[in-house]
């Protein structure tokens, strides 16, 4: 299976990421059941393994599981995207230092192109990644390695339940793993397709991989066919290409030429932010955190990388508001005299549109914004004119989110940093 021409991907996936971030700075939480709540303390968005075992469902509204939480003395934290964003960057930078060609897929997942390393001991290679990320950042990760991204993702899910590393080394192994893997858990198979496949009696990933192409195309269109090919070991998603992420939306690009001008970076980020916001709205979701980054070539001195992150008080999918943050991020991080080669942004803390009701009355007029965005999404062309939105930078909301159980931002705020006892 691993000939010289086939690609080889690793998916590095942080285990229970938000819960793990909390634990790095609060060792008291180790081995205790722990859950993290969404914006406004609405529902469960992360669970430690112990909390999973106690039967706390993902996405459950907090008030519904309150008695279960009290009964088992489960630790509860409000989400702290500033902390998670910083820890995510640390994990990604660690990966960039110890492996090559890191593609950030979401706040807690990254792909690495391992084609160059196929002749190495991959188990040892993966173990080194796990150990180093754990030691440097405190975050535990699982790693799946396979010739396609979809298989690498599937392997990482298997790795999570075993010793942290799963490598699909040959075809026999691929078939064994697919046979024991539920169709609905495959990357890129949505809930709708999952239900449809169940109705046809297709339960395992192996059964799906064995269906004829014509049937797949008829029932799951061309994207479904790509996923199925990937399950068979034929790479269809190249480096920097993937089906939509679940927990965050990342848009980043290399520039066609080095850029030394703030306005040009703003123009680029305006484009990416607009795209990311469109994706967000297409998925009927809102973001509560935006991270903006841009950097010069890593191979040239002086190297400069800027990263700025902002918590958004009321989750939004409103392009002008997101743009205001993006522009602010560029202006505060830009350094004159540097030739920048890449820029991007990540939207995280995603919630479904209807989770957002609490702030309807003190927030901006959501209904109006939604109508406006709907109009503008159809009249897409206008979005090149980023100057249109400068005015919105002044409308900075001053109220705070309801996050009553938020941990300190241990790694990003000087007045909240970790206390080390000298007693």
């Amino acid at each position: 299976m691993h000939t010289n021409n086939t690609p080889l991907y690793a998916l590095i996936d942080c285990n229970n990421f938000y819960a793990s971030c909390e634990r790095v700075f609060q060792p008291k939480l180790n081995s205790k059941p722990l859950v993290v709540l969404s914006n406004n303390d609405g529902c469960i968005i992360a669970r430690s393994n112990e909390a999973k075992q106690l039967g706390i469902p993902m996405g459950a509204p907090y008030f519904k599981v309150r008695s279960l939480i009290a009964e088992h003395n489960i630790q509860v934290r409000s989400s702290n995207y500033e902390l998670y964003g910083d820890m995510s960057q640390r994990v990604m930078r660690t990966l960039a230092q110890i492996t090559s060609d890191v593609e950030i897929y979401s706040i807690d997942e990254a792909f690495c192109d391992l084609s160059k390393f196929r002749h190495q001991d991959l188990h040892a290679y993966a173990k080194n990644i796990r150990d180093t990320v754990r030691q440097w950042t405190g975050i535990p990760v699982s790693i799946g390695i396979a010739p396609t991204k979809t298989l690498a993702k599937l392997a990482s899910q298997i790795a999570k339940k075993s010793n942290g590393v799963a490598i699909i080394e040959d075809d026999a192994m691929r078939r064994t793993l697919l046979a024991g893997f539920a169709v609905r858990d495959i990357w890129g198979i949505g809930r709708q397709h999952g239900k449809m496949l169940a109705a046809y009696g297709i339960q395992s990933a192996l059964e799906l991989a064995g269906m004829p192409d014509s049937w797949i195309r008829q029932h799951m269109q061309i994207t479904g066919l790509r996923t199925v090919h990937e399950l068979r070991g034929i790479a269809c998603f190249a480096y920097n290409e993937q089906p939509p992420a679940k927990k965050s939306i990342t848009t980043s690009r290399m520039f066609g030429r080095p850029i030394t001008d703030t306005d040009e970076i703003i123009a680029a980020l305006t484009k990416y932010t607009t795209r990311a916001a469109e994706k967000l709205r297409a998925e009927q979701r809102l973001a509560s955190r935006i991270d903006i980054f841009f950097h010069s070539s890593r191979f040239k001195q002086p190297f400069h990388e800027s990263r700025r992150g902002y918590d958004i008080p009321t989750a939004t999918a409103y392009t002008p508001e997101l743009l205001a943050y993006a522009i602010r991020g560029v202006r505060s991080g830009f350094r004159p005299g540097i030739s920048y080669v890449k820029a991007g942004l990540m939207l995280s803390g995603l919630s479904a549109v209807d989770e957002q009701q609490l702030h309807l009355f003190d927030g901006p007029n959501i209904e109006q914004q939604t109508t406006l965005m709907g109009m503008l999404d159809t009249a897409n062309k206008r979005w090149g004119q980023h100057t249109l939105f400068y005015g919105s930078m002044g409308t900075q909301p001053s109220w705070e989110m309801k996050r009553t159980m938020r941990s300190p931002s241990f790694s990003t705020r000087i007045d909240e940093i970790l206390r080390v006892e000298c007693r």
Partner: protein, 145 residues
């Protein structure tokens, strides 16, 4: 909204740069240092060896005064360093973080304070080292604030 304080922001602000000392100005003679005006000392470079693995924390208490670390000092913790005999370490002890000097005595790890009022602790279970400390920062001159 507050700005996020990251170690690298220091680097990004020209105002934080410290100029290298230049030759005093002598009328008529161009200083040979003029060609090297770009030089600056980067505190981040000096204090942060491995950025993703470095965390800034704060000392609370007087047990490390013998090592020159006082209450309120900033402690720069590098998680990438392996602790050795004599390392200053941040260890997890009973669910808290504590700053100690690691000593290996007859193959056994001990945690030493640097203040006669505190007794050394012999580590009998697995020692959880959170990170290693090579640098600390003390803010002087509160009188000027």
């Amino acid at each position: 909204m507050q700005s996020i304080i990251r170690p690298r922001e220091l680097q990004a602000r020209p105002a934080k740069r410290v100029r290298l000392a230049l030759a005093p100005v002598q009328a008529g003679f161009p200083s040979p240092a003029d060609d090297h005006l770009d030089g600056h000392i980067d505190l981040n470079e000096l204090l942060i060896e491995n950025e993703p693995a470095t965390f800034i924390t704060r000392a609370a208490g007087d047990s490390m005064e013998g090592a020159g670390i006082f209450d309120g000092d900033l402690i720069i913790v590098n998680r990438a360093l392996r602790p050795v005999n004599g390392s200053l370490i941040v260890a997890e002890l009973n669910g808290e973080f504590t700053l100690k000097r690691l000593r290996i005595i007859a193959g056994q790890p001990w945690l030493y304070a640097e203040n006669a009022h505190y007794k050394p602790i012999r580590v009998t279970t697995e020692l959880n080292v959170w990170g290693v400390v090579k640098h600390t920062i003390r803010i002087h001159g509160h009188a000027h604030e």
